[in-house]
Symmetry: C2
């Protein structure tokens, strides 16, 4: 019950006051947040700090009636979960979970803590688990956020990540890689513990991967056709 409350509060609060530019931008642009947090998960530290600033207001304090000793533990757990959503720590956290999952012990505090970290990560990036008509508008929003950042990075002379660059990324290429190398491996690992998610989460991810791979083949065929057309037109001109 406490774990559920911790997970839900952390999930609701985990992106509070997000400015729309990721940690890499914060650090490279030397923003106020990056300076404040010494380049250490600046956004996640900020989301979490804002959460507890809100919770400290009497009219928002949903923990007002729990004992100070319990509050300490709840606070510590929420901090751990929100900080776990920094994707820079994805490999580390998933590796740690992989080492536990085959002998998972629900009475072992470290195991449960690690599971909760993986669960909030699953929620955080779960968009592609949903039906295409729900997921796709959010992918459009995400790409818009990425392009906004990369445009700004270009104009400010900062490094640009290829996966954010409107000249290098399409919706299918962006999603295929993320689904194949981030989402499916993580959800399949959780599936070892909760087999029932195969049908309701992992299969939709595989379907989405296949859907985007089909789209990519169409994109590729169209650009190939476009290329041939351009070539034959330029040959026609040369004749």
């Amino acid at each position: 019950m406490t774990d559920m409350c911790i997970l839900m509060t952390a999930a609701v609060c985990h992106d509070l006051d997000h400015p729309g530019y990721n940690n890499t931008y914060q650090i490279n642009a030397r923003t106020e947040l990056a300076v404040r947090y010494n380049d250490i998960s600046p956004l996640e530290n900020h989301h979490c700090a804002v959460a507890f600033q809100i919770l400290a207001m009497p009219e928002c304090n949903i923990f007002a009636n729990i004992e100070p000793e319990s509050f300490k533990q709840v606070r510590q757990a929420i901090i751990t979960l929100i900080l776990a959503t920094d994707m820079a720590r994805h490999g580390e956290i998933l590796d740690s979970f992989r080492q536990k999952v085959d002998n998972f012990d629900f009475t072992n505090e470290e195991h449960v803590k690690c599971l909760k970290m993986v669960l909030i990560k699953c929620c955080d990036i779960s968009n592609e688990v949903r039906p295409t008509e729900v997921a796709e508008p959010w992918v459009d929003c995400l790409l818009e956020e990425y392009f906004m950042q990369s445009d700004r990075e270009k104009s400010e002379g900062l490094p640009v990540a290829p996966f954010m660059d409107r000249d290098k990324v399409t919706k299918p290429t962006a999603q295929i890689g993320f689904i194949k190398f981030v989402l499916i491996p993580m959800f399949e690992t959780v599936m070892k513990l909760f087999p029932q998610i195969e049908e309701i989460m992992v299969q939709p991810l595989r379907d989405s991967r296949d859907h985007y791979e089909e789209l990519k083949q169409i994109d590729d065929a169209m650009s190939e056709a476009q290329k041939k057309k351009t070539e034959s037109m330029s040959l026609g001109k040369k004749k």
Copy 2:
């Protein structure tokens, strides 16, 4: 040369804007700093953030002429050093250094980074290396800071650490434990790498330990005498 510059800048900046109440107080009193930094080394994170806020001012930017790529490394190194001064990490950092010192490799980046962390820690708590007439006034100041905190903790109903409690600590008891269990073990470990510090640093620490142990014996004898006097006076009254 870069290492020297990094160490000196970190040393100068490592306690910037210190409020005089330690991390334990910050966390237990749920101060603005503790909330901002999610209870993770709140003071050290703040000292470091203030350092780079100052360095970002054009008139204070001593790194204005170094390349952005070098600045990144210098910044990362200074952050690592300032955060290493959190005494909550003392055991972890000293253990890590102990594992390297017998086969220390000055060309190994991890080794040098760890050495620098231990060196700034040595500087941070080096007061007792100095002659008694220099060190003692600072011990008085430190105890005053501790007592100010513990008085405030008592009045706010917060937990009080025994080593800060004016009812439990004297100058000799405070210093003997710190010199024997924190300072001498750390400086003796560094001595394995730099034997020349035995004479100029470790021996003064041993002398200071002996000095405070003598003082403690006098204190003990005096309170024993006081106790006997009170007893005999109360016996006298009973007669």
